[in-house]
Symmetry: D4
Subunit: 173 residues, 8 copies
């Protein structure tokens, strides 16, 4: 991930508009789908492993730095009792998107409930469980940014059209 | 609701930034919570009963008109096999927020799955089931609009602070 | 699949009485069980990959062409937030049968709810999750066509009798 | 219900094209929605309380009589471990539609699984839980009959159009 | 299984006190655990593949023969929409024990509901999903037979005591 | 309930063949359905409120007394984490039937799992959740006793026939 | 609740050994059962409405004050996406007990998963959903404190014995 | 495990403060995570395979011995209808922690309900399903013991800090 996995305090951060947060290194293969679709659309993102529970002070600090550095949308993925998206949402009034991850025996149903059922007052826009959800979180973040970026809006339209074209109409045995 | 329930083709529409869609008149008491919190924050919204299935052509037409009229964010609520948010999302690249409604014997769990488990490519940011979800959809729409509206961002901060102050610390018997 | 996977606009289409629709090429190994049992019963079918969301205009167009070409029954399979059967049903008054596919961590329970819990007014006759459901969709389509086709009715009776005979009564170690 | 609730062995039976079966008298208020929508569409139906388990011989007998009397489509509703639709389907090659009823603490989820998860070979086209499902079973039966009845096909188109017109676009406080 | 898998109409049947029924040959590796524990306890059983739906007349016939041949307890295992135990129970007043089998994406939860939620009047004593359930069905059948067989009662007591002794108290790394 | 709710140590106990156990007085209105159907069939039963957890020594003592007094079948009902049936089953080799009760927010699904999923070695024959399950537990107990009681077997046959006759064939508006 | 609902900074706080936290005033009627059973056992507790999300800084501050004031065990109740117990647990190494509350359409199943499925490293001892869970949280807190308080251990033994005595053995009609 | 898996009646037992109980040898690889984290924190534990159902008298005896030998906290893990933690809790007023194990087709959801939904009066502090739950049970036991052991409290603080430091902030491709 090297160069494009910039930290908040370096040059790349000035360009990142989306932060992608996750509770554990092992979540990255799934959460990377958010970064990948954002990169396809020309949107820089900043990915972090940061726990809701293990370092609460560090998370507060990160959120302040991230907003100052220009992050517009936060994407947070978590499994099990998935508190990260909700805790992030309690620390910002910028849009927060949550991705329930498929971990443990309940296969992400616990994470889905822990993210989507936030009480009134602290919204988290929740996407589907696992990889499709992570990809859609990237797309929704791009849709949000595109409201103020005509070039990105056009790239989103092109991207969606290319998806439709990509459909193979005739199944092959 | 009279005056503030403006239609797309009248003066109010020029100001509405959020469309609130639902499949049936009976969904309104819940979905109204999205409008109410948006109104508290000074954001005009346009509410409609429009079915994903009963008048597909009318929905396509509405989406075109709505985007032309300046709608930036779509909120769609539905119960049971809740297709409205996903169908709306397939017709626009503007952000779509989905609210699963508590209808029928499965109490909104069917609607939650039908909205949140969208396949990769067509995102719907899903909120919680029922009234808390509708209110949070309004708040998330406001958070999205506030990225380009400093006054609204300040009102959101004030609103959230007032919520925190409103907490009664001492339970009363 | 070549020759027997005819398109609506060619000779084969004139004979196809059943259309088998699915959202993705990867659904074909399961949905093929509908085609296979229909073929056993001498009923030609037309199979398509066509998305409810990615190309809505193409789906409308296809439905018109299909009805004109003589399709009597539509079978639609989908996973996750499975909207395809319901959207197909909203575009026709011919019988639509839905097959929930086992995709993602919820194993088709999400697809089942998204298909079977259609609101009153737009019916989808839903079969079981996965391969047994696809096979039964083919059989139910044949039962519907057999109401007006005595030869097919006889072949259905023979098919079912052969199934019963096929039961091995004595388990072997 | 008087006159139009004719028995198999009387004059009305000659006209009934749909049988509506249920396991208990208490299921009637819900299952009546199938009959009502069929009646709106001009289709006569024959409704019966008949148990899958309590009188198996009587059910076999009824099925033979019903087919001889011209029943084309069977609708069966049941709650709990809902075996009636599957047992009916095992006794005919005519289309069988199942309606899971909301009974007991599992609220119809048990009935849904007991109806929709039929093994490969004996299809039951399953509708949603409860009243909306019963209504949709009536509509799907009419769609099946309309394949061979142009007048009914036209009445179905008119019925659906009238549903769409009935949508109130503007919610009222 | 050869010799001890005797049919109702041969010598072995005279001794069999328990019938073990299943809907498909593929259920045998699990259902065999019922036979095995019965054999350990010295109880002969008669195992059959017989479908609730594919050959209803054959099932009725079998039940009559089985009762005449001295079968006291029926064990029936089935997966998916598991109707076999309930249908068997509707054809006898001898005790029927049901074993939900783990088949398909719902992993036996559908079978559990389809067996245990029988309506009032037709009881099925249901055991756990899969192999432990099959074994326990064998044990419960033996407990029932032991009410009139002191030797079997003693063997059951010995069997249970041996199970307790078999517990290894100290886990080993 | 007075006279027929005899205790183990009085005359009635000598006749009771079935013990009906429950964890709390509040379970009685549901569990009474087991006693009622047994009484209809002429089988005396002994009903007790006795906790699996609060008085374990008393439960052990009761089980010894009950077997000595001639109890052949134990019926145990419990809600929530419903351990009573399993604990009873661990203390006897006579047949134990379990009734999951609908208590608390999970509506008996927790009790169903806690009763039916017993590990291999300690069987509990589980009936449906709530009143229908309690009634069926009484019937299954009677079926077990009828294996050695021809009069009871005949009364069971008569009872079931009367149930079938009781079915009203024609629904009334 | 007046006098015994003391704040951390007053005299009562010096005696409180257990803090009872909840996210909303409306949770009090259920959470009060923890305080009531603690009071029966002679353990003072300090009850607070304090949100995991709305005032994160206040929660951190409260935790520091509470530990300094001698709180040994924290009980936290929450509904929906119930983050409060987990967030409390991330701020202390003293034992935290969680009570899932029955709120919204999922009836506390969402809260259960959000509390019990904490990732490895931050434990929350979870009790049952609703009132029985709140009472048991109070009892478990007392059991923990009793490890270092012989008088309390004796009162717990007496309390449990009195519960067992309270069981009514004979159900009354 | 050799030396540190001491039995209650030997020298090691004098030091063990935590007992780790499980129903079957096969549960050990998961339950060992409780012992491992306790060992990291310098807390000796005593691990046993002991069944709730197969040897009830032995369990009662063990509990008495364990308390006499100084066990302060009991951890019990079980799968399926997981009664062990609740039965242990009914035999002591010392804190009991329950770990639902992922066994069988319901993947531990049955065990979770069977442990966490204990009726009011007999508390079990329940941790998550499987390995993370076992580890957290060890940590919660240590937190309880640390209330009276300043050295352990400090080691817990260090342990948690080391966990936070261990978080890798930058995901690697």
């Amino acid at each position: 991930m090297s160069a494009d996995n910039s930290n908040v305090d370096n040059a790349k951060v000035d360009n990142a508009k989306v932060a992608i947060l996750m509770g554990s290194q092992s979540d990255w293969p799934v959460m990377k789908r958010a970064r990948d679709v954002l990169a396809e659309l020309g949107v820089a993102s900043d990915a972090r492993v940061i726990s809701a529970h293990r370092k609460p002070a560090r998370l507060h600090e990160f959120m302040d730095e991230a907003e100052a550095a220009g992050i517009q949308v936060f994407i947070a993925g978590a499994g099990l009792a998935a508190h990260l998206p909700g805790v992030v949402a309690s620390l910002t009034i910028r849009p927060v998107l949550g991705v329930p991850l498929e971990a443990g025996p309940l296969k992400g149903k616990d994470a889905l409930y822990s993210i989507v059922q936030m009480p009134g007052g602290i919204p988290v826009g929740t996407l589907g469980i696992g990889g499709a959800g992570a990809k859609n979180a990237g797309l929704l973040a791009a849709e949000i940014l595109a409201l103020a970026d005509h070039g990105l809006a056009q790239r989103l339209k092109d991207w969606r059209a290319s998806q439709a074209e990509g459909l193979q109409e005739i199944p092959q045995d």
